[in-house]
Each structure stands twice: as C-alpha cells, then as structure tokens.
Subunit: 260 residues, 4 copies
C-alpha cells in the first residue's frame, strides 16, 4: 500500500446470468469496479457467461476472481446446505478451476476467490467448512487471495493455509458492536440512503473504523469494499462512491495491488 495515500479495492458479484436468464447490470458495473467476483455455474453463470464476463473484465482492466457457491441454481446459492468438508473442498476446486480456465483462455490471471451466499455466510462461523474452503483454494493455487470478512473462521483458515486474505467491508450494511454484519432481518440492517453508505465507506478506508448500529465506534481495517450492481440504484451508489473516494484522495486498485 502506498504510504500516505489510502488505497482500496471495489469488488462486485458479476456474471450471474444463466442461459437466457439475465440478471445484473454487468455492462454498467464492470467499468466501475476494480475486482469482479465471477459466478462459476453452481448458483449462476454458465460457460458462455463466464467467458464473456472474464473477457469484459480484461478489456476494462478489472481483476477477476472466482465466486463459487453451493450447488443450488434454483436457490441461487442462498440456502444453507449440510455438506461434508470434502464435498465443500472439491466443489470449490471444481468451480475455481473452471473459472481459471476462462482466465487462461482470455490471458488474464485469476486474482482471488470470494465464496458466494450461503456457503460464505456459514464459513464465517463453521470452522470445518472454513478450512475445507481454504484448503480447496490453496490446493489448487496457493497464490490466490481469499476475500473474507475480518475476524471470521474463514479468514483464520485462509491464513492458516498460507493464503493471502483480503479484508472486506460492506458499504451499505450496518455493523454490530462486535464487528459483525447485522442480520438483514433486523430494522436498519441495510442502508437505503446512498449518502450514509458512502460515509461508511469513506470512514472505513480513511480511518479504519465503522460506527456500529448502537453508536459504538469499532476498528475495521478493510482492503476491499463490497458493492452491489444488480439494480439501477446500486449503479448510482457505485458512481457516487467512486466520486467521493476520489475527492477524499483514495486510490482504487485491484486487490493484488492493494495487498502488495
């Protein structure tokens, strides 16, 4: 990280369309982020979408990561499944390697992995699952970065196997005083006001703190900000965020640069 000048990565989930089923606004979002989490076919994404998304990222200078999921297309990977560690580990290898194939074909390095939806949520607290994911990623390529929320089992497991960890902050989600995301079901968990989201992002990046839902100021160092791009408002928030980060002298760089 360059001294004095704060730097951060912006990551978004991309390439989640499947066959004739279109989701997201990838064309508008890709130029606005620095790292893309590309779906690998288990919750969204198909080989055509994967190829086109990786190519669009390379052309836009956006770094590519794999976004593996539980095998649950109809549930979009959002439903917890009681898989064994070996099932999780091998499902991760399969998906990461498949996406890496499209990177190789499009002459761009695979930069990172960010698990999707339910498997990511469970791996924050489930040690065995977290280890299975980390081991799966490292067994395929120990040079990959794993995007994790700070202080989770997944972050610990990634460090244990020697993966680089990118600490992720959420722009439009409220934090509890324990540094964890407040459940979406709780009132005020998701910020509707773009200004508020932008302020949280700025604070995370420039002060390494976040104001929790109860007013507590907590420490939170982040390497990457998770942004959404699946609706027109999200794209507007993303534009506003880039503008304000630039105004605050924050530099945007892909993860591999941020962690250098």
């Amino acid at each position: 990280m360059s001294l004095g000048m704060p730097v951060v990565d912006l990551n978004a989930d991309l390439g989640e369309s499947f066959g004739s089923f279109k989701v997201g606004q990838d064309e508008e979002v890709i130029p606005l982020v620095t790292s893309a989490n590309v779906a690998c076919g288990f919750h969204g994404g198909d080989p055509r979408v994967m190829d086109r998304t990786v190519r669009a990222c390379r052309e836009a200078g956006v770094a590519v990561g794999a976004h593996p999921s539980f095998p649950d297309l109809v549930g979009f990977g959002r439903r917890a499944m009681d898989v064994t560690p070996f099932e999780a580990e091998t499902d991760i290898v399969y998906q990461v390697a498949a996406l890496a194939g499209f990177c190789r074909r499009n002459r761009i390095d695979l930069q990172h992995v960010k698990p999707h939806g339910a498997i990511n949520n469970l791996a924050a607290h489930d040690t065995a699952l977290a280890e299975a994911i980390a081991v799966g990623v490292a067994s395929y390529d120990p040079g990959l970065i794993l995007i994790c929320q700070p202080e989770t089992e997944l972050a610990r497991a990634a460090e244990q196997v020697g993966l680089r960890v990118a600490r992720e902050g959420y722009v439009d989600r409220a934090y509890g005083p324990d540094g964890r995301l407040v459940s979406r079901r709780q009132e005020g968990a998701v910020y509707r006001d773009p200004e508020r989201a932008v302020q949280q992002a700025l604070r995370m990046v420039t002060e390494s703190t976040v104001v929790a839902i109860d007013g507590t100021v907590i420490q939170l160092q982040v390497d990457t900000l998770c942004v959404h791009g699946d609706n027109p408002e999200a794209v507007n928030l993303l534009r506003l965020l880039r503008q304000e980060l630039a105004a605050a002298g924050v530099q945007l760089q892909p993860l591999a640069e941020v962690l250098r």
Copy 2:
C-alpha cells in the same frame, strides 16, 4: 517411439460415477490402462469422483485426460444436441479446466482430451463442431493431446489449430472398408469374442492394418487403443489384451510417450 519395438497406449473411460450412483469398475481398470479419460461432471463424474479418480491414476502411474460431454446427465451424454459452436467451445473449456484443477491439486499434468459420446460422434463429421472443440481445447492449453479417430473432421481440426492428435483404434468394434466404425445397430458391429478383439488390436499395433467387416484389409495407424472397463468381461478382455500385447513385444506407454 522406440525403434523396432512397437508401442501403444491403452485408454479407457473412467470416473463416470455420480454421487451415490456408481458405474464402472475403476479400481480394477485403472491398473490395466496407461491413459484415463476422466468424466468432468456433464454426463457423469462429480467433484469427489474427479478428485478420487485423478488421485488413483497418479498413484497407479496412469496419465490423465479430460472426457468432456454435452450437458446431459440423464442421457449420459449419448444424445445428439444441436449446440452452437460457441456453446460447444465454452462447454469444453469449462470441463477441461475443471478436470485440470483436480490434476493441479493432485500434482499430475493433464495429458489429453477425449470428447465423450454424442459430441465425439458428431464431431467426426460436423466441421463447425469439430473446430469448436479443437479451438476450445487449444485456447485453454495448446500443449494438450486430442484423441481422435483417424480421418475425421475432429482430427483435421485438431491439426489445424496445432494440437497433437492421438489416433485411436477400437479393439472390439468392426470397421467398414472406408475405415469408419460400423454402426452398433448393424449385425457383427461389436465383437463378443475376446480372441477376435485381441487379434484386431495386435494387427493394428504391429501391422497398422485392420480387416474390415467385408474382408478388405485397410491401413489404420493407431497411437492408442480404446478399451472398455464397465463390466467384468471387459476387464477380462483387458487382461488378455495386455498379455498378448506383451507376448508380441508391444510396449505400453501413456500417450505423451507414444507421441514423443
């Protein structure tokens, strides 16, 4: 290829089980072949099966190839599908890369690709499909070998994109005077007699000829013999074949050695 001493590869389809559904006799077949065509999840195989099969091959000193298919699990990849070239190309990349991931994790090189079932049959005659497959493989790794029947569109396409081609002979199938396999629906297309299959194999390897169903002797140079292992009789044929090849002074080597 060593001077004077004929050498050939034995390839078989392996790793086609899926979840709780077991097919084939992989444990008995793996030690008897030199190259394995490992299913990649579209007609059979799942990430656990892929991992275990690749590991078993490495431990047995058997070379590993990808065995990609049309996306048709219920039809076991045996039903023709009217896919576009781009669909075929990207389906191939996805599957080959996924299997390559399990090779990388198990520290063994991916040696070759052999398309499975209907996509392989169609690619013998369909130029656009053949090119899509060859381009897909080469775009992922131009160093891979493609197993093809001689004189097919697939073999031509593979050569055009610079892939090494392994010419495949069938041990237990009758050939027509045009050098093509006789349709399974025709009387006598499949040899029930193991002796006859072994004789055809020996002739292919030592004389580069095959006696067609009408008695014509045709030229057929082969680098690899396709054998089956999905029933007890097939395993017996495989044992007999190895014994007779050894007696005839034929050396067995993985494809990469045969083509060296």
Copy 3:
C-alpha cells in the same frame, strides 16, 4: 363456436422465470390473454413459479395449459435433442402431470398442452416424436387439448390418438406459400410493425386466410393466436391486438370454449 360472431383464443408463454432469474412480464400479460402456456421446470419455471402462475391465471380467469420442453435449462429448451420416442413421451407425462398438480391444488382444470421450443419445432415434421408427444399427453389425460400448427405431424398425431387439436396462428411471423412459418433467419420473417401483426391476426380470424411472404393468399383456420409477452413492445402489441379484435367484433374465449 357461436354462429356469426367469430371467436378466438389468445395464448402466451408464461411462468418461465426460474428461482431468482426473472423473465417475461407475466403480471401485465396474464390479464390480456385467455390461455396461458405455463413452463414446467425443464426449460424454465420452478415449483414456486408454477404455483404462483397457475394461481394468477385462475384469479384472472385465464385458462391454464402445460408448456413442456426438452430437459435443457441452460439452452431454454431451444436446442434440438435426439431423444427416443419413449424419452419424449415420459418427459411429457412428467411435466404435464407436475403442472396439473398445481392446477389441482389451485382448483382449476388443466385445459391444454403446448410443447415448447425445439421439441415443438421438431414435432412438426418428425412423425415418431409427434406420436410420442401425443401418446404421452393422451396417456395422462385424453381430455386435454393440444395446441398445434395446422398441417403438422403433431396435429395429425394428436387427432390419431383422439386429442382435440387447437390450430394455432402466429401474429407477428411471416408465412410461406406452403402455410409454414418462414425461418427466423430469413429477412422479413418477424414483423416489427405492430400494425402489420394486427392486420394478419384480423385476417386469420375473420377470413381464415393469411397473405404469405410472396403475396399468395393461403387458407389458414385458427382457433388460437400465439402472442408474446416477454418485452414491453409485445405487451403494447397485445393491447392493440385486443382493441382491434374487439372493434372487428371478434370475441376472445379460452380454447376450451373456442373448440366447444
């Protein structure tokens, strides 16, 4: 059909969303048609979508039909597959029965079946496939109506097994002088001008003729008009069509009434 007053059904494909993947504008289209072809899970549709779509149809007074497909979600059922007649027959029974289950649960009769995409296109000319579909439908419920293009193998097969046939006309597609649809790949095959589509519909319903792409006037008796609802323009065309049909004194009724 009531004497003097022409009557016709309007059918549209509905319920093709899948999980988080939304397609179509079902809420706007359902009130504008008289019969719905509801996807059954093989190319689109899932059990939630099926249930909601059937319920919305019942509430809007729209008759429900099954819209079975080849098993090809990623290809949206638009890719030809070389299935056996028994495979087609049983795939049809499975899908039609599953949709009938949601009808039964929502207390509405299943009115008809219209095959989707590639299986429908192939069944126009492939006698064995057409018979398999007709036999499948009749083996489940001989009282169902099958929507077919006139003069196709599917229409003949349906009549042979004793199903009622609803003859379908296309509003926005050009016909050849042989009464068949002009291939989409041909210039002028799809009408962009809503006025032209409406004129073709009126002519079909009130005069039982259509002007082919070469100017020939051909006979074409139709019981139902196929309309699209998957884009905002299609919804506008549908509104205009209803208005013009009403102005011309044409009554709209579900198929079961039209064929009475």
Copy 4:
C-alpha cells in the same frame, strides 16, 4: 384391520435409478413388498424409471407411493437444506403430482407419500417443515396416506391437515428409550444380524412393542415396516422376514388395506 389376525404393510424405496445409473435391485424387491416408495426425480428416478417402476408395481400388485426429496441429485437427497416452508411445500406438490401422472397413465391409484432422506429426517423435528410437507400433500390430494415415524412433528402435522397417517417401524435399526431411532453414528444403531431384525419386526407387529437399545421395552404401534432392498443381503433379510411373519400368522397388505 381384520380382528385377531395381525396385518402389516412392507414398504421399500424403489425406482431410484437415474438415466444410465442403476441402483437397487428393484426386480427382486418389488415382488417381496406391499407398498413401494417411488423416487420422483429430485434425488433419483427419472421419467423412464418412474414409468417402468409404477408399471412393475401394478403388475406385481404392489401399491405405489411418492418418495419426494430435497432437490439434490448429487447428494442423493441426504443433505439437509435450509429451504423455506413454501419451497418445501411446492417441491412436494411438484414431485407427488409428477409421480401421480405415471400412476394415472398406468391405471393405478397413488396410495401414499413418504418423504425421502434429509427432508424426512428434518421434518421429524422441524414443525414448519413438517406442516409444509403435510399441507403440500393435502393440497394436492387429501386422500393420500403419509408414512411417518410415530410421535414426530410430521405425524402431528399430517393429522392436523386431515391426512391419514401410516406409522412406520424400522426393522434393522435400534430404537432409543424415547422411541426415536438411534443415530447411525452410534455403535449398534444398525443391526447386522438378520435374525435380530426379524425378531424386532415380529415384536412390533404382534405385541406393538420394541426393545430399546438400553433394554427398555417401549410401546410402538406400526402400520408398515420399512425394509431395504439395495443390496443382496437386504433381499435375503426381506425373504426371511416374509417367511417369519407368515409363520407368525401376520398378514401382509398394502397400507390402504392396513389402515382401512
């Protein structure tokens, strides 16, 4: 139930093959049971297998039930999934109705429903899931029988919605003093000795008791005995069981007769 003469049903899971993947020994098991739980495509079974299995049951005089599952083919429906009640309810309707379609086509009534694997295990204790299953079944056909373990949430939910409940006993599994099955992971949970399994079955049917793993004698009234048929030993146990039940004067009848 006939006075004096005890009567019981024997149920087994059948039709779990999928495409080219064969499991079970259906041909040998069907003649030995009185009720078949037929897979519906979500964990096993495909439309061909469903049709053939239903037909074979009808020809053997065996009653047919649906055996719906979580949508998890690769996990054979054995992995818990965190689905919503509406997801469970509609997945049940879809599968039950699809199987009922093959019954209708083969002119045999659908007799019962028995949930498969993980969804069945969870529904024993999860009230919301149990209600969703019961409501799903009853919304399709309130005349169906639901096979449940006694004293489970599923049994209570089924009774609440007015379904007939068939109380199921396990022949080769140990019970705890609370009347619940001992976890498979515990030593002694599964009986290897066929004699012991047969003795447990006889006691259940003739005395309505079972000796728990700690020696406690508990009450357990059963209408149906669950037997396995997926291995040669299971078939032998099934034969022995029938012989001993006959010797003890126990009559075998399909569920619908047992509950009459």
